[in-house]
Symmetry: C2
Subunit: 440 residues, 2 copies
């Protein structure tokens, strides 16, 4: 074999070295644990689906990005999000599910985007959704921020703010001032207010066709200041000719009360009237989450309430609410900005070092005893000297080494060395395991 093929992967695919993979898995695991603690059930839908099923709703930009191909007589696609498979799953298994159906799914999804910084073609999504049968209690709109709050608290990556809004407020307001059709454009302009300033925003809105009165109203609306309670009061005081608008305010007020009930700190959630999310999908509460010290990362967890999950597959009305964390992108940004750092090159907590060939058997047994106590351990069989092995353990971030020499074998003990403090002591392997276990 002389002609070697260059080992490489496609751009836009994240593949990690072990130390980063350990860190990534730790974060993924934390997300999963919090999701499970709120009673969300695990799902693991298929990666490949019939295109007809998966693309029932898709169109435009999404469809172009999809990995689609034929195999035999089948037109197939790779899943590009976890919401469409959820809709298909709930419609398909409707009779076997208990509603409200709370599910989480942490899986890879695939989008053949043009590769660019921070965009991935294969990435993990961590989704939770709560699906009701015909109706769904508004309290679940508050459970989403409660879950997000617990996830980001546990991740310990600094302060964060869950921004929330209600689509009924937006839709009602823009309907009332006759700009319903231009909601998307208006919001896009408003979004630039911090960058380009109020005057330029006004100018762009006028250019868009809004009259001066409407522009005043829009500026008054999005300029609503204060804490959550004050914002709600000011919104109520605006004279908007729309029932939907006031319905939205009432929902948003209740949701904020429920959020407090869930124990979310007041400074962690914020009413933010410029949040809209996808325009044709969400119908009530919408969420975005930003890291306070890194606003440039954009939203790291978003979602909202929708009227009907699975209308393409079933006549059952299935309203729901959900959020999603794009974990691959988040991880890559956290690493790049050094908000998180790798801590260890291994999962091993105790590295057993036999001093020579005659000590290997005892070393293997000692490792087995330590492992039986739930402590990941490994034996170093290599021929290098003890000093080098110690260095290796140190470099890998292994907290304990267990030395087995002639004396240890004779006395049936191990020498446990704490790599952080440097202290060492001779004791039976089981007691060594207890010490390592206690040091967590």
């Amino acid at each position: 074999m002389n002609n070697k093929i260059t080992p490489k992967i496609l751009p836009g695919f994240m593949e990690l070295l072990p130390e980063d993979q350990i860190l990534f898995n730790k974060i993924k695991n934390t997300v999963r644990e919090v999701y499970e603690s709120f009673g969300f059930l695990p799902l693991d839908t298929a990666t490949i689906e019939y295109s007809e099923v998966l693309l029932a709703k898709a169109g435009g930009e999404t469809e172009k990005q999809i990995y689609r191909f034929n195999k035999g007589d089948n037109d197939l696609s790779l899943c590009f999000d976890l919401t469409v498979p959820l809709a298909r799953y709930v419609a398909q298994h409707y009779n076997d599910l208990v509603f409200p159906f709370k599910r989480y799914q942490i899986s890879k999804v695939f989008r053949g985007e043009r590769p660019q910084k921070g965009r991935f073609r294969e990435f993990y999504q961590c989704d939770i959704d709560i699906i009701g049968n015909e109706s769904l209690n508004l309290i679940y709109d508050a459970e989403m921020p409660a879950v997000i709050y617990n996830v980001f608290k546990r991740l310990e990556i600094g302060g964060f703010t869950i921004k929330l809004n209600n689509r009924k407020i937006l839709n009602g307001f823009f309907e009332a001032i006759g700009l319903k059709e231009k909601t998307a454009e208006v919001l896009r302009i408003i979004d630039k207010i911090e960058k380009i300033g109020e005057e330029n925003v006004r100018a762009e809105l006028l250019k868009l066709g809004a009259d001066a009165v409407s522009v005043d109203k829009i500026m008054g609306f999005v300029g609503t200041r204060g804490n959550n309670r004050e914002k709600l009061e000011r919104l109520k005081a605006l004279d908007v000719k729309s029932e939907k608008y006031y319905e939205g305010i009432e929902e948003l007020e209740k949701v904020t009360e429920y959020i407090r009930m869930f124990g979310v700190e007041e400074e962690a959630f914020q009413i933010e009237l410029t949040i809209a999310r996808g325009l044709d999908y969400y119908t009530g509460t919408v969420y975005e989450t930003v890291l306070n010290d890194y606003p440039s990362l954009g939203s790291v967890c978003s979602g909202g309430r929708y009227e009907n999950l699975a209308e393409y597959y079933t006549k059952q009305k299935l309203p729901g609410v959900g959020v999603s964390i794009g974990l691959t992108r988040l991880f890559s940004q956290l690493r790049e900005n050094r908000i998180i750092e790798t801590a260890s090159k291994t999962l091993v907590k105790a590295l057993v070092l036999p001093m020579d060939e005659t000590c290997v058997e005892f070393a293997v047994k000692a490792a087995g005893l330590i492992r039986a106590e739930g402590i990941p351990s490994d034996v170093c069989y290599g021929g290098k000297g003890m000093k080098q092995k110690m260095k290796y353990a140190n470099r890998c971030g292994i907290p304990y080494v267990v030395i087995i020499g002639e004396n240890e074998v004779k006395e049936g003990k191990v020498t446990l060395k704490n790599m952080n403090t440097g202290t060492q002591q001779a004791l039976p392997a089981e007691e060594a395991a207890d010490i390592i276990k206690g040091d967590k």
Copy 2:
């Protein structure tokens, strides 16, 4: 929306209801924990690779099964196993890895096989491999059975036997009797001995072109009986003109000694001379694992030692040893044969039941306190009566319900009911959490 699309997935794709998914995840988690306890590092290679890279070696049957397609200018394929991506990964990141490199990967792989019972097109593989740089200590050949042993002990699915052999013994033996080229056919015939009997096996071997003396030798060889030590002695006593044969016996003997050292019970591993695995890949020790009470399931964990992992990508010589569990197939067979049963329809350990609307706030807080102690809990907001809610908790296998009524709110306590024993008591939420935690 009147024309609904039938929600369905492709045949050969396993998708589970939540109660089965919970069980599947539990098994997957056990496998992962054991892998990690032996110091294997996590990897998560890309699902999509360049066809040129992924198919460097593939051919014949494998190539036909692959999901291969074009996207833009790229010829892409979905990974069909975890070994080829490992080879590519190790070659690519050679300079960043520490050898021996121990990695595990638990991921979905894809093969577009004709769907049939027990065959999946998308399935989980749980792989471990240990890769050496230039050479790899034989003791790692014994670590594989030690890991398998710990996995299947922990899974509690009954007795199992790890069958092992060494390809050098087979190759040396068949070379010595001049049947090297027909090794595959001979083994296939021998494999039928229990079904068709010794006489028919002899007849088929003669038909294959083996002379009578060789057939006698083959029957003597594969008929080697006794325990592991006796088999090794009898193999040594055979007069085989091949150095490789005796080299293989020496390796196998050492490996069995090492396996004992790892604490694997003698009845859990067995030298079995008919085990060969893939003929052109493995070069030393080979493994298969069968469930004693369900031999018809075939091997549930297989693998072996190979000379060179990544010869298609690098000049570095990278010998290794590894095994793989086909988890999707195993799970499906275990369920079908009722060797495992689902235990719970939910992960929730404590379901909080507010008796009316006025108790919801206290209920949400109680659930939060219990959750903070690491116990998955949920609140039932529904309008149904308490009896029905109790029934629901029972049907779902939720071990505790936490009742919140007017009195509980007034006294700041919860009423904890053990659904198995029926006993209930009023106490602060934190104490309720302690009781639930103690009952694991």
